[in-house]
């Protein structure tokens, strides 16, 4: 057997984890509001992120109304259009995706999957959520101040972000910057927790190479976020100083509303470097947890081990490391020294290799599997298809020459929505359908779920795929209206109308999903503790939903990796991680030992 290999990574968690005293809460408030239980915090994160995400969804619909049927609503003027663009982007990227993957799924799954009672620093964890909530509230306050929220685009490029001529330049931008700074502080608290929990609080036998890929993805994303968010933090501080006390970090000698401003000698490009030093890893901060989760969804529902587990882990590590050296591919036409183009195009395309490997391994996992087309599986396949599409269009934009005509067009909009919006959100949905039974003890309704899936999957494809071709024609992004631009064909307008209609249908389908969440909470089918016959530890808890402390009296001991599906010679087609080889039921005793 495997004892010898095992020593190579010999590891056991410190004994104190098992004896860890958890602050057991009292009363409703202690349990659900000021809770220090990672599972409750996870739900709090999830609900807050969903709520603010719905705001961003409405904003996107308003944008679509203007684009599909221009100049028909006097509510939307060019200023408010830009405000919608900005807030939609920022909310979706930071306050929804980052928060829900790391704060939501990270909090729920890390302790359960590692076999820990809770996060290592529960108090800090609670604080992290409340600070996140504060940042959301500050952000939302931007809608209500005079001048409204900022309309600088989610990239907040100076000088424009803090110069007149942009909406929200008085208060909106300040609130946005403060909110980001607060978010980063809160996130750092949470992030510390996730990393240290994975490193320190794994249960006995849970070596790094026995972690489910979900944990790997979230873990690596958190490490990256911890190193990348400081860039945004510094940039935000510097911009706040430029805006409030008249420094010139990013502000050159320039005109402001036709008059010479007091700024001297700042560099707008400096901000772009800082921003994208954060911004590019941010893409993978969102993508890696999605990669991890989808790996587990595919393995579980195809009843097959994830193909090339080690390669998957290494790909995650390599992607994480490489993503720090590709940031300037967002700046090919920004006016930085064009010689950077050679370097960054190369690093960017190199990162495509480990990403491609991940895709191969997912589809190879399906191959010769025993595919159950459950809801999570549907979403996982939807993710694969969308991600392949979005990833391939990324090869256009990463390649510096090809990027020149395509940057700042709808090709970019189509690309990043496919790869960074639709793909991760399909994973989020899949993950919710997958883990909802564990969180609430009830299954989500299957019919509603299928309707939700098909509308979302096909609808988003109709929305974003044609956008690439608009971009090919040169249609610029962040335009309030196109008027009679000569190089844009008239049919683009009809296409825009079609996209708007599709967007509304997709948005309606999300209401269906919310209804399903609420309805199934009370009326859903009882799930039992392990409805998907999965191997990972969260499905082996004594109670469903798991109680505070997760695992009852004794922490589970882990004997195997999380992908023991359809092991030959074993009676059932899955072996949970905490089942020792001796306890595995075999089909016949002649093949004792079960060497594979």
């Amino acid at each position: 057997m495997g004892e010898r290999e095992y020593d190579a990574s010999s590891y056991a968690p410190p004994a104190e984890v098992e004896e860890m005293e958890l602050p057991h809460p009292k009363g409703f408030f202690g349990k659900y509001v000021w809770s220090q239980d990672a599972k409750v915090i996870a739900v709090q994160y999830g609900l807050t992120a969903t709520a603010i995400g719905l705001v961003a969804l409405v904003l996107s619909l308003l944008m679509r109304l203007q684009l599909g049927f221009p100049n028909s609503l006097s509510l939307i003027d060019p200023g408010s259009y830009l405000q919608y663009v900005t807030m939609h982007g920022m909310i979706m990227v930071v306050y929804l995706l980052t928060a829900i993957f790391l704060g939501g799924f990270g909090n729920y799954l890390i302790p359960l999957m590692c076999g820990a009672r809770d996060m290592v620093f529960p108090y800090l964890n609670m604080l992290s959520y409340w600070i996140y909530l504060a940042s959301v509230l500050i952000l939302v306050a931007g809608f209500f101040v005079a001048g409204g929220s900022t309309g600088a685009g989610w990239t907040l490029y100076p000088p424009q972000a803090i110069s007149p001529g942009t909406p929200g330049v008085d208060t909106g931008i300040v609130l946005m910057l403060v909110s980001l700074a607060v978010f980063i502080v809160g996130f750092t608290m949470g992030g510390l927790n996730y990393v240290v929990t994975v490193l320190q609080a794994r249960t006995r036998g849970m070596t790094l190479m026995r972690l489910p890929l979900t944990v790997w993805g979230i873990f690596m994303a958190t490490v990256m976020a911890l190193l990348a968010f400081p860039a945004l933090f510094v940039a935000v501080l510097m911009m706040l100083m430029d805006r409030l006390i008249g420094t010139s970090f990013f502000m050159p000698e320039m005109l402001s509303m036709g008059e010479s401003s007091d700024h001297r000698g700042g560099s707008p490009l400096l901000f772009q470097h800082l921003f994208w030093f954060f911004g590019h890893p941010e893409v993978y901060i969102v993508a890696l947890p999605a990669f991890g989760i989808v790996s587990d969804l595919i393995a579980t529902h195809a009843r097959k081990n994830i193909f090339g587990y080690r390669m998957m882990v290494w790909a995650i590590i390599i992607i994480g490391a490489l993503s720090f050296v590709v940031w300037a591919h967002h700046m090919y036409v920004s006016g930085m020294s064009p010689y950077f183009g050679f370097l960054f195009a190369t690093t960017t395309l190199i990162i495509a290799v480990p990403t491609a490997i991940k895709v191969y391994n997912w589809v190879l996992t399906l191959w010769r599997g025993n595919i159950r087309l459950t809801l999570p599986m549907l979403f996982a396949i939807g993710f694969l298809f969308t991600f392949v599409n979005g990833g391939l269009s990324g090869l256009f934009l990463g390649n510096v020459t090809v990027d020149v005509p395509l940057s700042d067009t709808y090709f970019v909009v189509g690309h990043f929505h496919m790869v960074m919006a639709v793909a991760p959100i399909l994973v989020i949905f899949g993950a919710i359908y997958h883990w909802y039974p564990k969180i609430t003890g009830r299954m989500l309704d299957e019919t509603l779920g299928k309707v939700h899936f098909w509308i979302t999957f096909l609808g988003t494809y109709v929305i974003y795929y044609p956008m690439h071709f608009m971009g090919l024609e040169g249609v610029p992004r962040r335009y309030y209206a196109y008027g009679e631009t000569t190089f844009i064909s008239d049919s683009v307008q009809s296409l825009n109308a079609v996209i708007t209609v599709a967007a509304f249908i997709v948005a309606l389908a999300q209401l269906l999903f919310l209804f399903n969440l609420a309805w199934s909470y009370f009326r859903g089918r009882e799930a039992g503790s392990n409805p998907w016959q999965a191997t990972t530890l969260e499905w082996q808890t004594p109670h469903t939903p798991p109680r505070h402390g997760n695992f009852g009296k004794a922490l589970p001991i882990v004997y195997r990796w999380p992908y023991d599906y359809s092991v030959p010679g074993v009676k059932q087609d899955f072996i949970p991680q905490n089942v020792p080889p001796e306890a595995v039921e075999r089909e016949s005793d002649t093949r004792r030992g079960g060497e594979r």
Binding site: F121, L226, P230, G246, T247, R264, H273, R560
Partner: protein
Amino acid sequence: MTVTLVLVVLMMAAFAGWLFRQSFNVRPWVAASARGQLPAPIPPSVTAPRVGLGVLLAVVTSVFALTVSAYLMRREMGADWQSPPLPGLLWGNTLALALASLALQVAWQAARRGATRRLHQALAVGGGLTLAFLVGQLVVWRQLEAAGYYLSSNPANAFFYLLTALHAAHLLGGLVAWGRVLARLHGGAGALRQRAGVELCALYWHFLLLVWALVFGLMLSS
């Protein structure tokens, strides 16, 4: 961005290297036997708070590295860069911070030996010197302002204020932790029980001393 790039790449490389070492020769699909030995516990020196501090310091490193990168990038860019004169008081402040760091080292050793009185004294001295450093920095700001080196007059000034303020803010954060340890000691907690807290403070102070030395050196060089 070169500084950050090098630092982050080094951090990521070290981390990825460690992960690879953990995973390279492992065949994850092979199960362990219940009759086999339980794997050896990780070294007792690697406690969660220590790892937590390590991660935090990595984050802080990233913050300072990025600010310094921005500083260097900006400095190389324009002829309009005029470094402010560095008041002599900064040397005094540096000394205060170094002594504070030393005092906390003494406190840590005292805590390990369980010498409560000595711990108490060393902690108080360390905190006091840190406060002296902060007040000193404030005086430096006033001096510069009085001499007409305002925040907004030159990017070099703005960077000076930004870097010193960031550093001071981190020290203030450290003082909160320091205050908690001190309060617990006053509340009658034994020195041994406060060992972990004192140790984290000491390490944090050493780190910030190092950061200050680098920042100060950088500003001296320009």
